[in-house]
């Protein structure tokens, strides 16, 4: 096993453990946004898609990398925007009577 592969495997395993540790603390109510957030993170595949697009020389490779870049960008942009849309709604709002929340942000009634 080469030193590079060993290093890559080390990173891989530690990142998995890191993922377990970080995720298991998230409360259930945030699971859908979390799933969407994690979904946008694997949009990092855009970096790989850009790298293969840059060195694509034959038409087939160019088409494949074009599709890969478009797919990956859709994953990144769409993922982050939709996650943000979801989380935007979790702001505590100063709702009548039951003022449990300290009401930081103004109540913009975007109905």
């Amino acid at each position: 096993m080469s030193a590079e592969l060993l290093a890559a495997l080390t990173v891989f395993v530690l990142a998995i453990l890191c993922g377990f540790a970080v995720i298991s603390k998230v409360p259930a109510t945030l699971h859908t946004p979390l799933m969407s957030g994690a979904n946008s993170i694997h949009g990092i595949v855009l970096v790989g898609s850009m790298l293969i697009a840059a060195s694509a020389s034959d038409p087939l490779s160019q088409i494949l990398s074009l599709v890969a870049v478009a797919f990956a960008t859709m994953n990144v942009v769409g993922g982050y925007v939709v996650t943000d849309r979801m989380l935007q709604m979790f702001r505590k709002k100063p709702v009548a009577a039951k003022a449990t929340a300290p009401a930081a942000s103004a109540d913009d009634a975007k109905a």
């Binding site: 890559a8 891989f12 395993v13 998995i16 890191c18 377990f20 970080v22 995720i23 998230v26 259930a28 945030l30 699971h31 859908t32 946004p33 979390l34 799933m35 957030g37 979904n39 946008s40 993170i41 694997h42 949009g43 990092i44 595949v45 855009l46 970096v47 790989g48 898609s49 790298l51 697009a53 087939l60 160019q62 494949l64 990398s65 599709v67 890969a68 870049v69 478009a70 797919f71 990956a72 960008t73 994953n75 990144v76 942009v77 769409g78 925007v81 939709v82 996650t83 943000d84 849309r85 979801m86 505590k92 709702v95 009548a96 009577a97 039951k98 449990t100 109540d107 009634a109 109905a111």
Partner: protein
């Protein structure tokens, strides 16, 4: 490694740290939005760093730049448009769609790399071959599987389990194609494009045959599992092109998706294996065995319900997917505020899988400005049903079905909201139609239950008017 590459690699590392830190900040509702921004910032750094690397390295052709720019413009435009315009109720299928394209991109990276090596007449070392095959197989399964899942939730494909004749044999055959193909490549060490395409085809078809037989109710678990798959495929793509940031981010998502999948399955008291295999196997014989003591259904109207609600002291609202579909979350909030103004204590009982995904209902109610503290999780609210004067069920079905408490029903063992413990129950529902599980709900024939047949939105509007008139 020259200075530029070193700097870019450090920037990638910083981006990866952004992902981890961002996920950590998503722990609590207060910091979650910021966490997503931190994660997005990490992504911007990683992508920006890559662009700088390509720009300064100077050996990217004009065609290369055109491909990258067109790809980003098209993909970014589509992503932005769909994410901005999607209804919150349709969000799970959109996440699934984004997941599909991510998996597709990961598979394409390995395919492109393989074709290039084959074109040069070279061979790949064994470890890269393994990573390539895993990336292609997992990426292809995710691509078609997520598209099918998305189609099922969108209603383009029937949500019912679709049993493929000879499905089990097809599955085994596909797995055999992939395993034999991979084994052939590993043992001979040759770069064989035909074999790779056989593996690609097997993966693509497997994605379809894996998801088609699974019922719509289990789709969230499937999407979450496929999300985890995509992460793994991306990590494999990182091995193929020797890129650490892909490995880190992919592994992070692979791990998070796995945990989330298990949590979702736990919420339904099922095992992930059971859900995945259940689709392949029988699933037929169990359906008809249910239906309890028959009994008649009591129908009520808006005025009856309004009086019940207005003079209650504790009301628990049980929102379900029907509420989301009818876009009635604003109506339910208005009704709750009206009742509170009369001194009624109102709480919301949120089943872990209410809506289509864990936490989905919280998102929908938050959209309607329902105060967070009023949303109660299942374990917190269940003991309170006994004290509730009225439990108002709006568009929820299977998660309230007492049949889950005894064996012999498809929902047996699923944790449910103890709605039937309330002093009286009102169910707003369009018809006696069945829920996602496709079974009758004993709750509706309970003598304490009044059925208020209406579309959730219209029904709530009538109720609000009636409560105002009380």
């Amino acid at each position: 490694m020259d200075t530029l590459e070193t700097v870019v690699r450090l920037v990638w590392l910083l981006g990866a740290a952004g992902f981890v830190f961002g996920l950590m900040r998503m722990n609590s509702p207060a910091t979650a939005r910021n966490g997503n921004l931190v994660s997005a910032g990490g992504m911007a750094l990683a992508v920006g760093g890559t662009a700088v690397l390509l720009l300064l390295n100077g050996n990217v052709s004009a065609t290369g730049w055109i491909i990258i720019l067109i790809g980003i413009a098209v993909g970014g435009g589509l992503g932005l448009y769909t994410a901005r315009t999607v209804q919150m109720t349709a969000m799970p299928q959109l996440v699934s769609l984004f997941n599909a394209v991510g998996g597709g991109a990961a598979a394409l990276i390995a395919i492109d790399d393989y074709l290039r090596i084959a074109g040069l007449g070279q061979t790949l070392p064994l470890d890269i071959q393994i990573a390539t095959v895993l990336d292609v197989v997992i990426g292809c399964i995710t691509f078609t599987g997520s598209l099918i899942a998305s189609g099922k939730l969108q209603g383009l494909i029937p949500g019912k389990p679709i049993l493929i004749p000879g499905g089990r044999i097809i599955t085994v055959a596909l797995a055999a194609v992939a395993v034999i193909g991979a084994g052939y490549l590993f043992v001979t060490g040759e770069t064989n494009v035909a074999v790779l395409f056989a593996i690609i085809a097997a993966g693509l078809i497997f994605g379809v045959t894996m998801v088609l037989p699974i019922g719509g109710a289990d789709m969230p678990v499937v999407i979450s599992l496929l999300n985890s798959f995509t992460g793994t495929a991306v990590a494999m793509a990182g091995f193929v092109i020797d890129n650490t940031v892909l490995i880190i981010a992919g592994a992070l998502v692979g791990a998070s998706g796995a945990i989330l999948t298990k949590l979702m399955a736990d919420a339904m008291n099922r095992s992930v294996v059971n859900i995945m295999i259940g689709g392949f196997g029988g699933g037929e014989g169990t359906q008809t065995a249910v239906t309890g003591a028959g009994g008649s259904v009591r129908s009520v109207n808006a005025d009856d319900v309004a009086i019940q609600l207005a003079y209650a002291s504790h009301v628990i609202i049980v929102p379900g997917y029907g509420l989301a579909v009818a876009q009635a979350q604003h109506g339910v909030r208005e009704l709750a505020e009206l009742l509170e103004a009369r001194g009624v204590d109102v709480k919301y009982a949120i089943h872990p899988v209410a809506g289509r995904m864990p936490g989905h209902m919280n998102v929908l109610l938050a959209e309607a400005n329902v105060p967070y503290p009023q949303l109660k999780e299942m374990d917190d609210i269940n003991p309170e049903f006994e004290r509730a004067d009225v439990a108002l069920v709006v568009g929820a079905n299977d998660v309230t079905n007492p049949a889950a408490r005894h064996p012999g029903s498809p929902v047996s063992g699923m944790p449910i909201l103890d709605v039937d413990h309330a002093k009286s129950i009102v169910v707003i529902k369009r018809s006696m139609g069945r829920g996602y599980a496709g079974i009758d709900n004993e709750l509706y024939t309970n003598p304490k239950t009044g059925m208020y047949f209406a579309d959730a939105k219209q029904g709530l509007a009538d109720l609000i008017a009636a409560v105002k008139a009380v």
